[in-house]
């Protein structure tokens, strides 16, 4: 069995030796041109005059394009056709591309791009949530509302109520490899594009529109990305389209990559939001009803904001049964970067809301947060029977696979939660200046694209006559280890060593009409599609060999690099050669679509998810009440990957997801000034976690279980869910602040040292 083994990443050897090629490393043909955008330096207004002569006259510049020079579609939006590649005259955010410099070198292009002389008629910019609400500036006609029961009555009739609000900041992806693309013009107007993208089909689609060709003229290839995290789901469109348009205009290969500052100024980030809440509960903290309002800053274009905001609503319950609930979601249009997909896709934002509410309830009642949480958990999947019906979510989906009772119990023991909680209290009593905090938070994350039709995948598998196997599917590799997991599936289906399987670059010419590698769905969807393709070939081989050996095809066994047919044993290579010689096709496609989904996003009702992935984390922190400085001391995590396809890669996703999630809620602060200029546009000012920010003690374990649904080898998706384990760090900080006084800390995120000190001041007061 190659499946379930903790094998290294497929490219680990290439990574450590520097041989792994990213888009900017691909040798380009001679005469390659380099592109850079000229950007707006106001947030909102009309271009009244544009003088690009200094740009054109700059050394090394071949051409400069504006919206007027684009021959076909001027649009790079993944959704609403509202995102011009180059401004059509109105400016919607500071950093919006206005013109495209095509030059002989990257440096020449960068220098020239700064020489544009643009005059604007500046207009008032809508920058904040309050600005947007006041101006009713939004996507969709009004707020979306998902509701269950009479929430107002439930809250008002409950013994206790609290009300509150939390600001939750956005997050820059900070993939180490910035956005990049290369377009290679071909004969007859065709185009080959290399793009650092999670969504090759989207690139193909947008490039085809932009060069006025059918999709069949464009082939997009992606071997790997240097990190994606959702930031390369739609944000690579502009570069690929720019390259293709410039390549078409010049007949020369064109490359574009964003300098880090440009990358951060131009591209979208995680949606920031404000969550208002009103909750009613009993003496034990059991929620009777909760009313959430999400005020989400979506930026200037729609991009993926609607499904992101939907997913935030869908995770407003997290792991808790809400007898009544209402979630009102405002998708606000502002003159800032267009917020986009980012690991969790709104889920983390929704989850922070309910975890904040539970923290607030526990503080109000003076009870342990874990006790209150557990009291509100969904009914255990194991206890559901004919008499005990499953709980339903606030969007009408039955929760039948809930395993957090068992998981949290196990984590309580392994992390020594109760003893440590007591030790923290005791430590705090002895230390007037420094305070510790501890929190346990769970994760229940819905797996499937909420746009149901995206839940499909294709694969293409060839077996060559020497027994070597060519593997291709629609998923992309961004570091998550998808290619290795899927290769493990393929090797397992054929019973061959992993080395027999060649992993190949994602290619729109091999597998068409793919969905983005997103929503944690990569191995669920592509693993299944590959399994189906492999099994098709394997069955053909079995039939052929069985016939030759007059055996039962059902009894042909593929294992250990051999094929056993009756009493005979052939090497897999011999079997492949024999099958070929008998004129049987050794190539197959596989196609998979996720079953059981039915979802109405307008009504907010149905089953948007195939299943849920679960996890829980305990984090312990310490804060300094003089400065707000803080750090994570220890994290203990138990996470559910079903029957893991590769425990090593899964643990890697969990460790990395946790640190990234904790970074979102602590040090990673995006700051815009009152002109709408992002002031944190480089790693000098935007601080992702560094090496020493990981927990001193960091215990990660996998829950031993199987997916109840029929997924690939009963595994579960792992890309996004662990990100939200980082919420435990945020609430541990809240717990530490709470040790400073009687009042509720009401900590906002990111909990920078400054925000922590402000909260300490509040509870002291």
């Amino acid at each position: 069995m190659t499946v379930a083994k903790p094998l290294p990443h497929d490219a680990a050897h290439l990574h450590v030796t520097g041989q792994a090629r990213y888009v900017d490393d691909i040798p380009t043909p001679a005469h390659c041109l380099h592109l850079v955008f000229g950007l707006s330096d106001i947030a909102h207004g009309i271009i009244t005059e544009i003088d690009l002569d200094p740009v054109r006259q700059a050394p090394g510049v071949l051409a400069v394009l504006t919206a007027d020079d684009l021959p076909f579609d001027n649009d790079v939006s993944p959704s609403a056709h509202d995102e011009p590649l180059l401004s059509k005259g109105e400016i919607f955010y500071l950093g919006q591309p206005i013109f495209l410099v095509i030059a002989e070198s990257y440096l020449a292009a960068r220098k020239a791009a700064r020489l544009g002389e643009i005059t604007y008629d500046e207009r008032p910019a809508i920058l904040t949530i309050d600005d947007a609400m006041a101006a009713n500036s939004r996507f969709e006609d009004g707020p979306r509302i998902y509701a269950k029961g009479d929430v107002e009555r439930a809250i008002s009739e409950a013994p206790h109520q609290v009300r509150g609000s939390i600001e939750v900041g956005g997050q820059e992806h900070f993939y180490l490899e910035g956005q990049a693309a290369v377009a290679l013009p071909q004969e007859g107007g065709d185009m080959i594009v290399h793009s650092s993208t999670q969504h090759p089909t989207e690139i193909q689609h947008k490039v085809a529109e932009a060069i006025g060709q059918p999709m069949h003229s464009v082939r997009v290839e992606v071997r790997r990305m240097g990190g994606g995290f959702g930031g390369k789901e739609s944000q690579g469109n502009a570069l690929a389209v720019a390259c293709a348009v410039a390549a078409r205009a010049t007949g020369r290969p064109c490359k574009m990559r964003y300098d880090r500052d440009d990358d951060m100024m131009v591209t979208g980030k995680r949606h920031d939001l404000r969550i208002n809440y009103h909750v009613g509960f009993d003496d034990e903290g059991r929620i009777a009803g909760v009313d959430f309002t999400h005020l989400m800053r979506c930026g200037w274009a729609q991009d993926l904001s609607l499904p992101v905001a939907d997913r935030a609503m869908l995770h407003a319950d997290n792991a808790y049964h809400l007898p009544t609930a209402r979630v009102t979601s405002h998708r606000l249009k502002t003159h800032t970067q267009s917020a986009t997909a980012f690991r969790g896709f709104g889920g983390p934002q929704g989850m922070v809301g309910i975890e904040r509410v539970l923290d607030h309830i526990a503080h109000f009642l003076g009870r342990d947060g874990l006790e209150v949480r557990r009291r509100n958990f969904y009914a255990s999947g194991g206890s559901i029977s004919r008499t005990i019906k499953p709980h339903t979510t606030h969007y009408g989906m039955e929760v039948t696979d809930f395993i957090l009772h068992e998981m949290v119990e196990a984590l309580e023991v392994s992390s020594d939660y109760h003893a440590r909680r007591a030790a923290v209290a005791e430590w705090n009593a002895r230390n007037p200046l420094l305070k510790k905090g501890i929190a346990l938070t769970p994760v229940k994350f819905g797996i499937s694209f909420t746009l149901t039709h995206l839940n499909q995948a294709g694969a293409l598998v060839h077996v060559y006559q020497d027994g070597s196997i060519h593997l291709n599917h629609g998923g992309t590799e961004m570091g998550q280890g998808l290619f290795q997991k899927v290769a493990q599936v393929a090797a397992d289906r054929f019973g061959v060593p992993l080395a027999a399987v060649k992993i190949t670059a994602t290619d729109t010419g091999k597998v068409p009409n793919t969905s983005a590698t997103a929503a944690s769905s990569g191995s669920d969807l592509n693993g299944m599609a590959v399994k189906i393709a492999c099994d098709e070939i394997r069955d053909r081989m079995a039939r052929c060999l069985a016939e030759l050996h007059q055996a039962d095809p059902a009894k042909v066994v593929f294992r250990d690099g051999h094929v056993e047919v009756g009493a005979d044993r052939l090497s897999f290579a011999e079997a492949a050669a024999l099958t070929y010689q008998n004129r049987v096709s050794l190539s197959a496609t596989g196609f998979y679509k996720t079953p059981k989904l039915q979802w109405d996003r307008i009504k907010g009702y149905g089953r948007p998810f195939f299943y849920f992935a679960y996890g829980a984390a305990v984090t312990e922190v310490v804060i300094d009440t003089l400065t707000g400085e803080n750090r994570i001391l220890r994290a203990d995590i138990l996470h559910d990957c079903g029957a893991s396809l590769n425990p090593a890669l899964d643990i890697g996703q969990i460790e990395g997801g946790y640190v990234q999630g904790a970074g979102w809620l602590t040090t990673e602060e995006l700051v815009w000034d009152d002109k709408g200029r992002l002031r944190t546009h480089a790693p000098s000012t935007y601080k992702i976690p560094a090496c020493s920010d990981r927990p001193d003690i960091f215990n990660v374990a996998l829950w031993d279980g199987q997916n109840r649904e029929e997924t690939i080898y009963r595994s579960k998706a792992v890309g996004e869910p662990p990100f939200m384990l980082g919420i435990s760090a945020f609430l541990a900080l809240s717990d530490a602040v709470a040790a400073c006084g009687a009042d509720y800390p009401a900590l906002d995120a990111p909990a920078t040292a400054e925000r922590i000190l402000a909260a300490v001041n509040r509870v002291h007061a």
Partner: protein
């Protein structure tokens, strides 16, 4: 300018403009694309290379390293970390075995930093790797790999020897040469470590000609301990200063430990950090608190001033055209110095507030106080009112509380992306309280708390 150096063991000669970066040259001219560009400003470490000179191997960020800085030295990139026939270095094997790479883009930089730490037998991995950002792994598997490889022997192919006798007419060899040249070319840009000037090129896209490189002026790179003071040449790197400070002013050393990263400290010089006049450089507050003197040089003329007098106003220093910082000297004194650096992230972050306190107490009374801050004004600045309020008073919490009330007479800080004015003022006041509480034995640093 023609530059000669060793690249992965082979001698190379390069004709390049003086501000061509090693990273661009490696990737664009040599086709060595293993070294990555992550940020082009020395903050992410994806471009880390090992450079060996007479002091031995050290890691540097290739993105802000100009080719002339390499003259006579040996460079090792990720392509040179594996041995003959592709034999893996122990840190490479450990990174594979411990799943230390995910997307792989930061990995070459990590591998190079790890290989250098391995060669130097350093086990303070958090510090050695503070200049390498990873967005995928959460660092845990990388540290596991570093630990696993630590006991393996250093492969022989890693040993580089710098070139000998490679003078270059364009590179001054001593301070006298530099002083004479700069006096004749007062508009020139002086480049020492290029951790700041590098960004003028890679981010501001400025043409800097004419330039002078200071790195071959060995006489600028010495730390001499005299009878009553320590003399630190302006060309000393922050790595050198850190080593010196560890023995004399441990709190200053702890501040420098968090200054930039290993790669940055290996390049950045103390002179550069002073001369650029930044209000948020971390050395000036410490040096002001230590009553340091600044040695300035113009041609043959030298003068000595109190370091706080060098900073006149934002962007304005007491230096004439053609004059440069030659050294800083610190009087010997009992160690009462405490430095507090406040930033969003502990490692490799620019200070929102940097407070340095040097307070002498005799018979429970304050006899002297030198207190200086970065990030609180347009220049690194003394807290004169606070000092005066403390001097002569009993060393007590009440005295501290009184002194806290006069901070606003010394400072009216600004709000920016690093911190608000209110926060800056409050934490500056609280740092004085921290100094007091430490003096009576309270636990005050979250960095010292164990889980």
């Amino acid at each position: 300018m023609t530059i000669t150096f060793l690249l992965n063991g082979e001698t190379v000669q390069v004709d390049a403009p003086p501000t061509r970066t090693l990273l661009d040259w490696l990737r664009e001219d040599r086709g060595l694309t293993g070294t990555k560009e992550g940020c082009n400003e020395g903050d992410c470490g994806a471009c880390t290379v090992i450079v060996t000179d007479d002091d031995g191997p050290k890691t540097l960020n290739a993105c802000i390293l100009f080719l002339p800085q390499l003259h006579g030295k040996a460079v090792r990139t990720v392509e040179g970390i594996s041995g003959p026939g592709g034999k893996l270095h122990p840190v490479q094997q450990a990174m594979i075995d411990h799943h230390g790479s995910q997307c792989g883009f930061c990995t070459p930089g990590f591998v190079v930093s790890m290989a250098c730490a391995h060669m130097k037998k350093r086990s303070d991995f958090d510090d050695q790797l503070a200049g390498n950002l990873c967005r995928c792994t959460g660092y845990a598997p990388i540290i596991r790999a570093a630990k696993a490889a630590a006991s393996e022997p250093v492969p022989d192919w890693m040993i580089d020897t710098p070139l000998e006798n490679v003078q270059n007419a364009h590179l001054p060899e001593n301070t006298d040469e530099l002083a004479a040249w700069y006096a004749d070319h007062p508009d020139a840009t002086l480049i020492a470590g290029a951790t700041d000037v590098g960004l003028w090129v890679t981010k501001q896209l400025r043409d800097l000609a004419p330039v002078a490189f200071l790195h071959r002026c060995n006489d600028l790179q010495r730390i001499d301990i005299a009878k009553d003071h320590t003399h630190i040449g302006a060309g000393c790197t922050m790595t050198q200063v850190l080593e010196w400070a560890s023995d004399h002013f441990p709190s200053y050393a702890e501040l420098i430990r968090r200054y930039g990263s290993t790669q940055v400290r290996n390049a950045a010089t103390i002179g550069g950090n002073i001369a650029n006049g930044s209000p948020i450089g971390d050395n000036p507050p410490a040096l002001i608190a230590l009553d340091a003197k600044l040695h300035l040089r113009h041609g043959d003329m030298q003068r000595v001033i109190n370091i706080e007098d060098f900073f006149i106003d934002y962007g304005k220093q007491d230096s004439a055209p053609g004059e440069f910082v030659e050294a800083v000297s610190i009087p010997h004194q009992p160690n009462h110095l405490k430095c507090y650096k406040l930033s969003k992230r502990f490692d490799q972050d620019i200070s929102a507030v940097c407070g340095c306190f040097n307070i002498s107490i005799e018979n429970n009374h304050v006899t002297a106080a030198r207190i200086a801050f970065g990030g609180m004004a347009g220049i690194p600045k003394r807290a004169s009112h606070v000092e005066q309020t403390l001097i002569g008073q009993t060393w007590s919490k009440e005295t501290i509380k009184t002194a806290q009330t006069v901070f606003s007479k010394d400072f009216q800080p600004l709000s920016d992306m690093r911190a608000s004015a209110v926060y800056r003022l409050q934490t500056a006041e609280n740092m004085l309280m921290r100094y007091y509480l430490e003096s009576i034995g309270e636990k005050t640093s979250v960095l010292e708390v164990q889980p």
